[in-house]
Each structure stands twice: as C-alpha cells, then as structure tokens.
Symmetry: C2
C-alpha cells in the first residue's frame, strides 16, 4: 500500500520503520531531513511537504509534538489538505487536543478525507518493539482499513468510538499515570520518613492490591535518585495541560489530578523538565 | 508445635485453620465461642482466656480489629502477659498503631516474651487461599522461628526490620491502595463525563503505564455500580486513621492522601461504611 509518514522523531522514526519492514511503500517528510536518513536507506521516499507526501498515499500517518504542529502539517501551507481527496485516511498519532481534533476532522471531511485520532502509549521502547497501545477515535470503516497497518506498530489497538475519543482515552491514561505516580511518591515519602528499608518496602507491598506499573517501574528509580528520563516531565506537563483544558470544558474538579499537575509544573519551573516523571518524588 | 490463636474472625478463622491443617496443636480463644466451632471440629482446643490459651504455647498469634483490642488481649485482665514467659513469641496479625505496638513490645520483653508485628494484606480470599502478604517487624531470631509458621498462611513474607516496621509497611500499603483508588476514580469520572465507553476505556489503558491492581479489579465494579464489599470502607477508614496518626507523628503533609481520607470519611458519614472501597467512585 502507498503510505505517508509525517514526523519522524523518537516515536515516529521506529513506527514508520515497521510499516516499511512490512513491505509498504512509505513516503516520509519531517522538519529535519537528516532525521529520516535511516528510513531513506531502507527504501522510503522523501517528500518536501506534507501535501507532496500525501499526494499518492492511501493512508497518511502524522506523529508530531503538539496541537499547533498537527494543525500546521494538516491544514497549513503545504499541508495535507492541499492534496486531500475522497478516500484518503489520515491517522494522527500525536497526543493533542480532542476538541481541536474534531475541528480538523470537520475541515478534512469537506474534501472527502477521513481523520482518525490515534494517540499511543508505551514510549520509545514500545515504538521500537511495536508493542504500543493505540487508542483510536473516528469512522469505523476508516478504522477497519487502518487497523492492519496499526498492528505493525502496536499490540493493543482499541477503537474507542467517534472522532476525538482516542485523544480523550489517552487523557484518561495520563490522569491514571500521573495520579498513580503521586500515590507512589506519597507512600514512599511516608516510608522514607518512617525510616523503613525502601527496596524491601516496595517488594513487600508491590505484589498485591497496592501494586501498579508506576510502583514497580518508577519506585526503584525514585528511591535511588535515578531521575534519567523514561518519560520526560516536560512531556507530562504538556499532556496535563491538555487534560486541564478538557476538564475545564467538562466542568470537572479533580483534586488529586490538580495537585499532581501543580507539582509537575513546579518541577518544570525548577529546571527538571528533562528529567523522568519519577523525579516527582523530589517534589512531594 | 504448641500454638495459640486469639481472634478468629473473617481473617483469623482460615489462618488458624491452616496452622491446624499443617499438623500443629492449636489452642484458640475468641470473643464469641460459637465462631471457633469449625476449628474445634478440626481438633483445636478451646481456652477461656488469652492467658489460658498462651500458657503452653511456643507461639501465640493474635488477629483482632484495632489497637485497644490488641492491648486488651495482650496486656488486659486474662491477657497473654499473665502467662507470658521467657522464650514465648507473640505474632500480632492485626493492623494497629506502630507506636502502640512498640510500647506493648517493651512491656512483654520484661517477661522475656518477644512481640512481632505481622499485619497482613490480601483480604479474606488471601486468608482462605493462604496467599496473604505478611509484613513482619521485630527481633530477627523470633522471626526465624515464626517464618515457617507464617508460610502456612501467606505467600509473600517480608521481614521489614525492627518492631513496628511491619505496621509501618502496612500503612505504606494502605496509602498506595487508597491514593491509587482515587487515581482510578478521578480518571473514570473524567471518562464518564467525556462520554467514553467505560469498559473499552479500562481495556485500552489497563495494560500499560496506567495499570494498577485497583484499576483492573475495582474499575469494572465502579462503572457498573457494583459496590458489594471486597474491602469495606469502614475498615479503610480505620486504616487511614492509623495513617493519619502516623503522618502527624512524622510531620508529613501528603495532600492526595488527605483528599482520599476526607472522601472515605464523607462516604462513611453518608452510611456507605459497609460498601466496598470501589464506592469511592460515587464520592469524587
């Protein structure tokens, strides 16, 4: 199948590589051409703009940092919309605003082009190993076309519902990730202050009802002060800003979420943006 | 070995049963004699008081509701201390105050008797299946004697450190359990308000970095309004009261913990004490 992939950063590069490896023809474009060299070496074709990349593609994938970046590659000058046509499917893997997603979908559908929002979780390791969780919102027929392609990149592929529900589900994911992280931070702060043996404490409680991915994976790094990034605080801040916009739209007051958002923002303001989210332990 | 078991409620009854099944001679006492009938039928011996139960035992187990109950069976009239002697080991499975535990240990040690605090987690199902996590504080030699007996009742047995550290580790467990529960409640409240398909949402996010025991086990009950108790809110309130006492002693201000404590207390005040902790979902 003729595919296009726009945005080949830490996530996009290995994801586009899986599509190539599966035998598809992939045209790529990115802000920095040098970044896509590994893909060109494997047979990908370079295009000078998103519009050019999308011209002969059946499905276009985008994976860029934030809402304005998606708006730019889809609707801006040289954007996908310039070559958009009936039957084209655009799959957006970026984590961005659910309401902006719905607005962009409405503009693309005027050209007969269908947008699926398909944010991912699982980090760079999940992208490399094709074990991502992919949360997809949008038209069911377009999903049915895209799903076999998504299976090259991820393990848990969920069609969540209509347009925007992929992004909303990703925000649910980020609320869980960050408040559970806070649970681990508060519990280990108690343990430390109480003078407990911290590795032993994690081992004693981690296997039961207190257990979580955050405790098992971040707890040991918190207690040794290993703040090297798995998922960077500045990216968590970006996702929590999207969560805050959505909770405001929905009229929700979620207090633990608000607390952890404040702590991450404080961490960012203290220059910890490039540290991993486990550095929250230093902020509680 | 000659053992005694004091307090045969939902947890103590199956736990004492495992010791009997392993071939030990077990003397039992409880507030209500009718409760121990199943154990007497399996060969346990009845004693009229904790002191009488402990008289010929090498190891005495206690499993009663709260700090005053432990103080009563150990130090009160007819309590274990009346027959306590050099070499006796008392293993307290109750979840109670760490500082009260240290004080009781100091009184027993004057008689040559060693107290181990050994609170458990895993609920009535863990007690029945002998898969409890048991967090033990106290003298290492006494722990070495008790450990083979604890293996009849639990799967993860951790010697956490000196006297009181078992209780402190249990409190760490309860901070994790309750704040992670709050994370699930806030995330699913967002999902519900956003109009997402809730079972699909749990499935989409539960396997990755957002995953926890609370999400997997309580999430599905929250979204169907199944508030039947696994672990009752009134017991969670009791444990969080112990946590609050300890955080105050340690001079800690843990805000998500404080929020979830308030919500459980409000749930209790609204008459939800006998519901399961997943009913927190109705309070967020």
């Amino acid at each position: 199948m003729n595919l296009a992939f726009i945005g080949t950063g830490i996530m996009g590069l290995p994801m586009a590589g899986h599509l190539l490896a599966a035998g598809h023809r992939v045209t790529v474009t990115s802000r920095t051409k040098s970044r896509v060299e590994p893909l060109l070496a494997k047979g990908a074709t370079w295009a000078d703009s998103p519009a050019a990349a999308a011209k002969d593609a059946s499905v276009v994938f985008t994976c860029v940092p934030d809402t304005p970046d998606v708006e730019s590659v889809l609707l801006g000058k040289g954007g996908v919309i310039e070559s958009a046509r009936a039957g084209l499917i655009v799959v957006d893997h970026s984590t961005i605003s659910p309401s902006a997603t719905r607005e962009m979908a409405a503009k693309l559908v005027e050209r007969g082009t269908t947008l699926l929002d398909a944010p991912v979780s699982g980090g760079d390791i999940g992208a490399k190993n094709a074990t991502l969780s992919i949360m997809v919102g949008g038209d069911a027929a377009a999903f049915a076309t895209a799903e076999p392609l998504l299976r090259h990149m991820g393990k848990t592929i969920t069609h969540c519902g209509g347009i925007g529900t992929g992004q909303l589900t990703k925000l649910v994911n980020q609320i869980l990730v960050s408040v559970t992280n806070l649970a681990v931070c508060e519990a280990l702060t108690f343990a430390k202050k109480a003078g407990l043996d911290l590795p032993k404490t994690i081992q004693a409680v981690g296997g039961g009802a207190a257990g979580s991915w955050q405790l098992t994976n971040l707890g040991p790094r918190m207690i040794t002060g290993d703040f090297a990034p798995g998922f960077m605080i500045k990216l968590q801040q970006k996702d929590l800003r999207l969560v805050a916009e959505a909770t405001k739209e929905l009229g929700l007051d979620l207090q633990a979420l608000q607390r952890v958002t404040e702590l991450f923002d404080r961490a960012g303001a203290e220059g910890r943006g490039n540290e991993g989210t486990q550095a929250l332990f230093a902020m509680v």
